[in-house]
Symmetry: C2
Subunit: 442 residues, 2 copies
């Protein structure tokens, strides 16, 4: 098992990173967890302040001593139980980070549907935060997001994607091991159909033809590369820096007798060489980091043939915003989803002409709902494989992501572009819809 | 005839504005036009320098004294004749502005196909200008583009759109009087079919349903409003500040018995009131000006119902760039096509979620080719109506625009967006392509 903890760069006394096999012990002095003392009026007043800052969502807190805290005249739909006094103080000190950590360690419990609660919190906070004082925004900001330089990128990717292929196989689709937004052409598609539809949709947008060459930046478990090779007869150079993913990708390509068409390369996107008819990257831009968008522009600019088409598929935003601190620290080190204008600036800096942007936001909410269902069906196995803390952290991550896409805090952009001077670009998008992208029931 | 000259804010001794009925006299002292003296070696050297700065396009100059100037070993495809010494100096002093002015006044003549020459010049200059010294960029910049404030906007729009409806009727489509990019679903469509296809494409993107309300900012001669009312049964408030256009729009709506569904309103987009199911603006954003994008965001934000869809259709750029000086001064005062990132920033500032971007660049080149053909067929009438100077200026404008879209200096973006929190947005774009958007041969 390649998984290992990265040291936390945050010196607040927070819980261990999720997935620690070594220990579920908390780094907080035991006295702080003293649950024999009663909660006091000051603590309860601060919690009510927090509820107001969060836009007065319909929830109440239950404290370790049985005390109940809610806003006056507020109907409550959810109960959040805080198990010790320290949990309360941590939540107040930085809810962005502590909410996930406390939930993961079981010191905050939720009664009610977790994704629903998170949608509620996203929505109420979204409008309320405009009124936050600036010092509070600053206090609760993520002060040390991870770098995405060449060597740090390897650590960041290793932290998440090398958790073990067996883990991801428990809840991703069985057809193509896609850990990115699926495309539900119609709402009744299975996860497997919708993921294959996504791959087909991407290939159509790239207008792939047999014999063409494609370079893929960040290929995951190699599903897109195999789909392109099998269904479009193209040759693919697929780059990735996650070893576990590449091992799986290579074995699968061999098993499916596609290895003569695909070269899985263990290297950073910045080291892509050669020129190709298509450049594609699905779910990697989130890990590139704003300070490296110029690298990304340069790479695409030199790797794309004069008449080639490029497609970037990435989580994005309606406006620039820092990544949620807990997600950045515990789940995706270094992650940053660009706003649509930042995304377009990346294209502008490469001298590209943007041809097509599609926003698949609600498809990602649907994808995540499918993932969470499967994850829950395997939660006992996950806990046995890692520990309960890990399982709860991933539950929070998946539920919180469902909520972020539902509440429009996150978007999913597919952007097609070409060199500015390319006049052999597609004239319309009709061919994307000539026949269904999803296969019939598998 | 409502047309009138706006005073030029440029104090260089340039030609009059095109379309002046009063006089075609040039404001240059007659002595400067002295064509009896021979060209000298210095002048010829400067012209060769200019050719190099323009990226060495395959053309030669012929001077008033018969002298020929070209770069060594350069094959030449076009001949540009300069009729007097002052024309040469004006071209050197500011080619961006003087090229159009000298062509309009007949002091610069072109042998060969004008759009082809312009494409060549756009392409060769595009790459060459990266090497220009900064002082030259600054010297040749447009130092006084017109403001687009509330009162100036009226003058700007009056300058162009109130040239007279009979003039535009000579060469625009006869079905809907569209003075914006058409949609050639297939290359063999007539201008009339392609313009109706554009209107249909826009309506489909907005998912219009009978009984809905639509507000249109900048409605031209009202063709889109009438199309929406007739084919989708919606009620339209259509804003415009061009009187000539509104007079035509109202008369047509009455004639077509659609006036109960359409309210053509003579007012600025900033004064739009009410809330609507759809916000649409086709070909107006170019006139809004970057400094007023915040106004535009605000207007759309307050005029669009929570579950409404908005569509902006505008000329744009692959990167920020000043409007060509001649076009801004002589043709479209105050015009500024946004880069795609600037366009997206406008959407971000309104709190919108961008759903769909389509680039129809080559459709605009095709549209302009169709317009130029019809314009040429009526050029004698145009000259009789205005004068030869006007006809040549418009020929240059149309040919230069064909070239700008062909050479990718200009783009055409259709952007669909919604309030960020709107979850009833379309899930895919299949419905745009279920049947042809263009009517069968008219």
């Amino acid at each position: 098992m390649a998984y290992q903890n990265s040291p936390s760069s945050d010196d607040a006394p927070t819980a261990d990173l999720p997935g620690s096999r070594q220990s579920n012990a908390l780094s907080i002095p035991l006295s702080e967890h003293d649950v024999s003392r009663a909660s006091n009026a000051f603590e309860r007043m601060l919690l009510r302040k927090l509820l107001k800052l969060a836009g007065s969502p319909p929830l109440r807190f239950e404290l370790w001593d049985g005390a109940s805290v809610k806003l006056e005249n507020q109907l409550t739909q959810f109960t959040l139980t805080l198990r010790d006094p320290k949990a309360l103080m941590q939540l107040l000190a930085n809810p962005n980070l502590a909410f996930g950590d406390l939930y993961s360690s079981g010191r905050l419990e939720v009664t009610g549907d977790l994704p629903e609660l998170m949608i509620l919190l996203y929505r109420s906070t979204h409008s309320a935060r405009d009124n936050w004082p600036r010092w509070l925004e600053r206090l609760w900001a993520n002060h040390a997001p991870r770098s995405t330089g060449l060597s740090e990128a390897r650590e960041n990717i290793h932290h998440h994607y090398d958790l073990g292929n067996e883990f991801y196989q428990m809840w991703l689709d069985t057809e193509a091991m896609q850990y990115t937004c699926a495309y539900y052409e119609s709402d009744d598609l299975t996860l497997e159909q919708a993921q294959l539809a996504k791959l087909e949709h991407v290939c159509r947008k790239l207008r792939l033809k047999p014999g063409q060459t494609v370079v893929e930046a960040g290929c995951g478990w190699g599903g897109l590369a195999r789909y392109m090779a099998r269904h479009y007869g193209v040759k693919v150079h697929a780059y990735n820096i996650s070893r576990e993913q590449l091992a799986y990708a290579r074995a699968e390509a061999k098993r499916q007798q596609l290895d003569h068409l695909i070269d899985y390369i263990e290297d950073d996107y910045r080291n892509i060489s050669g020129q190709y008819d298509a450049f594609v990257s699905v779910g990697m831009l989130e890990h590139v980091g704003k300070s490296h968008y110029a690298d990304m522009s340069d790479v695409i600019s030199r790797a794309l043939k004069p008449e080639g088409l490029a497609l970037l598929h990435s989580i994005g935003r309606n406006r620039p915003m820092q990544m949620n601190a807990w997600i950045e620290k515990r789940i995706f080190p270094g992650a940053y989803p660009p706003s649509i204008a930042e995304f377009m600036t990346l294209c502008e800096n490469g001298g590209f002409s943007v041809l097509d942007v599609e926003n698949l936001r609600l498809h990602y909410a649907h994808t995540l709902e499918d993932w969470l269902k499967r994850f829950e069906a395997h939660s006992a196995e996950v806990s046995a494989m890692y520990d309960e803390h890990f399982t709860r952290a991933w539950r929070m991550y998946l539920a919180g992501s469902i909520a972020a896409f539902h509440a429009s805090s996150l978007q999913l952009f597919q952007v097609v572009f070409a060199h500015g001077e390319n006049n052999s670009v597609p004239r319309n998008r009709k061919h994307l819809y000539d026949k269904p992208a999803a296969p019939e029931a598998l």
